[in-house]
């Protein structure tokens, strides 16, 4: 029986570079410190954290897989299941709620035809409510795919945002 192929071979080149850059920040015995950053890199590539991704990170950082899984399940922004091609997180915490954060969430859900936390049928959008994104003075705020924060999102701007994102992420044939 052949030994399983080393997992590192499955990392994309870009991911491997990003892993190396993150690991270099910490002392050798503190390699595990890079776990959040490495998982975030794989989430950006694959859209969610699969068990396979957790195994890759575990191997790269000399961690037990369960320790990586603990991190995936603890931090809110990791997608434990596949989400739409665009994930929209709307802050509804009190300071945002006072400036229409809850309304922004409801408007997005209504215009995309999803319940909060749900994904559109064409898998283009997932809409989730979020806890404080740290941009309270810009409310309502939406975080796009964990990376880009958009601000002052009234209904018109939300509709425009959806249109821009839809154009950039055309539905794929099944």
């Amino acid at each position: 029986m052949n030994a399983p192929a080393p997992k590192a071979a499955m990392l994309s080149e870009a991911a491997a570079r990003a892993f190396a850059r993150e690991i270099a920040k910490y002392p050798p015995e503190g390699k595990a410190s890079a776990v959040i950053a490495c998982l975030a890199v794989l989430q950006e590539e694959h859209g969610f954290i699969s068990q396979e991704s957790e195994e890759l990170v575990a191997e790269a950082l000399d961690m037990p897989v369960i320790a990586v899984h603990e991190v995936t399940t603890f931090y809110n922004m990791f997608n434990q299941v596949p989400v739409g091609r665009v994930k929209l997180n709307v802050c509804t915490n009190l300071p945002c709620q006072l400036r229409g954060g809850q309304h922004a969430l409801e408007h997005l859900c209504a215009s995309l035809g999803v319940a909060e936390g749900g994904t559109t049928v064409d898998r283009a959008f997932t809409v989730q409510k979020a806890e404080c994104l740290g941009a309270c003075a810009d409310a309502p705020v939406v975080l796009v795919n964990d990376r880009q924060m958009v601000s002052f999102m009234n209904d018109a701007r939300l509709d425009e945002l959806v249109a821009v994102l839809r154009e950039a992420n055309p539905a794929r044939p099944a």
Binding site: M77, G117, C132
Partner: protein, 488 residues
């Protein structure tokens, strides 16, 4: 996932929140316009002068670590992250002669609802934080430092990384800095959505690559911190205050504020104001002045209540706020806290019960699950506030809310339990009549475990609570797929 799309036309420029020109004697935000964040701009504003002054070589030049700490002590600079602990004193706790690794950590995990000051600071003036951290590390004999940045503001993390590259290339970081024998490495890292990681020991756990569950103190980080080594954790804004103090002297800094409350403070004024944003003003500025800078409450409305220091701080009614000056001691004396400097303003159209409902949901969601009083208690608080908000409360619930709060406060490893309990007690203390009014027109009372009809403010809250009601009030239970599972 897809490549990033250009969303710049939807993104904040800082114009509304930072470059509005309505600061008073700004030091940290002074002269910023959103484009001048690079090293050469910072140097043109006098940046890295303090760092050069400290490392200057030659007889009678430069500053010793003791001199740096003495200057910071003289300034009365207090921690800007929430606790307000004297910074110079904290630095003096570090065992400078301890052999082996020691660490310095910047807490930029800015997730306290209401606060967005460090985001603007790191985005538009990153080098001031780098310089402040370099000085602090020198004062404490630390050679390696990390800046842990809130995962939700990823673009700020990328900006900070870019600034670090500039500082390294210019020789302000690295080995044998500016011709001295001093070595200092600074790295950026990021979280990924966990409010609790703003607590310093949870942050250290997270930085070690674990879930962010706070550590029991003592031992304090100064003796057992990152990787078990002596560590000091300070807030971003605290570091940003340091270069000015070194250049102008501790006494000058103190003179800007008021005794025991030195310097300027950035307040994030949010909620029901016409011009929400960050305002850098001297400590001791009257609240009414700060509110005026932020444009006051919306036309036709009157001020009802203010949470003066981030969502964890007890709420204060307008009558008390209007008499207050914005500094650590005055706000503490009034029964609240200056905290992180987030000023959440609420006008007379707001229901205090519904405001509390959203905060209680937040603390339930963000409890790390480690301590039973917090893990269970935050859920109890939320469910009781929820049934009162839905008109199904009982008069005893008010006492019960206080009792549960009492049993959380002071009985947990970290301050999240206190942060969940304090808003409840303060809301009841100052706005009890609103709770009573909702209870008096109630429908049939229900048990705390039962979920009432869909909450008018947020049906999703009710759905989330349904998953939590049988004692599974953990983060995992509140995860999206569980929420999904209870959806009709």
């Amino acid at each position: 996932m897809n490549a990033r799309v250009d969303l710049s036309r939807f993104q904040a420029t800082g114009l509304e929140t930072c470059f509005h020109g309505r600061h008073i004697q700004p030091q940290i935000y002074a002269g910023l316009d959103g484009k001048n964040w690079r090293l050469k701009d910072y140097e043109a504003r006098g940046g890295y002068r303090a760092w050069r002054k400290i490392l200057e070589q030659g007889e009678g030049r430069g500053m010793t670590p003791e001199q740096v700490i003495a200057e910071v002590k003289a300034s009365s600079l207090r921690g800007r992250g929430g606790a307000g602990f004297p910074t110079g004193l904290k630095w003096s706790f570090m065992p400078r002669q301890f052999p082996g690794a020691k660490y310095l950590v910047c807490n930029s995990d800015e997730g306290e609802p209401g606060t967005c000051k460090d985001r603007d600071l790191l985005m538009f003036n990153p080098h001031i934080v780098i310089e402040g951290m370099a000085i602090a590390a020198y004062a404490m004999g630390v050679n390696v430092a990390y800046n842990y940045i809130h995962g939700e503001i990823f673009e700020v993390y990328e900006r900070f990384e870019e600034a670090l590259e500039e500082a390294r290339a210019a020789g302000y970081l690295g080995d044998a800095i500016l011709g001295s024998k001093w070595n200092f490495q600074l790295h950026a890292c990021h979280g990924f959505g966990a409010y609790i990681c703003g607590e310093e020991t949870a942050l250290l756990e997270s930085l070690e690559g674990k879930k962010g569950q706070p550590r029991f103190k003592p031992p304090f980080p100064a003796s057992y911190g990152l990787y078990g080594k002596p560590t000091t954790v300070n807030n971003t804004e605290t570091f940003a205050a340091v270069p000015w103090i070194i250049v102008n002297g501790g006494q000058a800094y103190l003179d800007i504020g008021k005794p025991n409350n030195g310097g300027t403070k950035i307040f994030s004024v949010v909620g029901d104001v016409q011009k929400p944003g960050n305002y850098e003003v001297p400590l001791g500025t009257p609240f009414t002045k700060l509110l005026e800078l932020a444009g006051g409450v919306p036309e036709g409305r009157t001020l009802k209540a203010v949470i003066p220091g981030g969502s964890s701080a007890p709420v204060l009614p307008a009558s008390i706020m209007n008499e207050l000056t914005m500094d650590y001691d005055a706000i503490a004396k009034a029964g609240s806290m200056l905290g992180s400097g987030a000023v959440i303003v609420m006008d007379d159209s707001r229901s205090m019960v519904h405001s509390l409902l959203r905060l209680s949901y937040f603390y339930m969601h963000e409890s790390c699950g480690q301590c039973t009083p917090c893990r269970e208690g935050t859920g109890w608080l939320y469910r009781m506030v929820e049934r009162i908000a839905n008109g199904q409360g009982r008069m005893q619930d008010i006492d019960l809310l206080n009792s549960v709060s009492d049993n959380i406060q002071g009985r947990t490893i970290c301050a999240l339990g206190d942060a969940a309990a304090m808003p409840v007690r303060a809301m009841i203390k100052h706005f009890k009549d609103e709770f009573v009014a909702l209870i008096e027109k109630n429908a049939a009372p229900v048990h705390a475990g039962k979920i009432g009809p869909a909450d008018s403010i947020n049906p999703a809250l009710t759905a989330a609570a349904a998953t939590l009601q049988y004692g599974m009030a953990t983060r995992a239970a509140a995860s999206p797929e569980h929420r999904q599972a209870v959806k009709p």
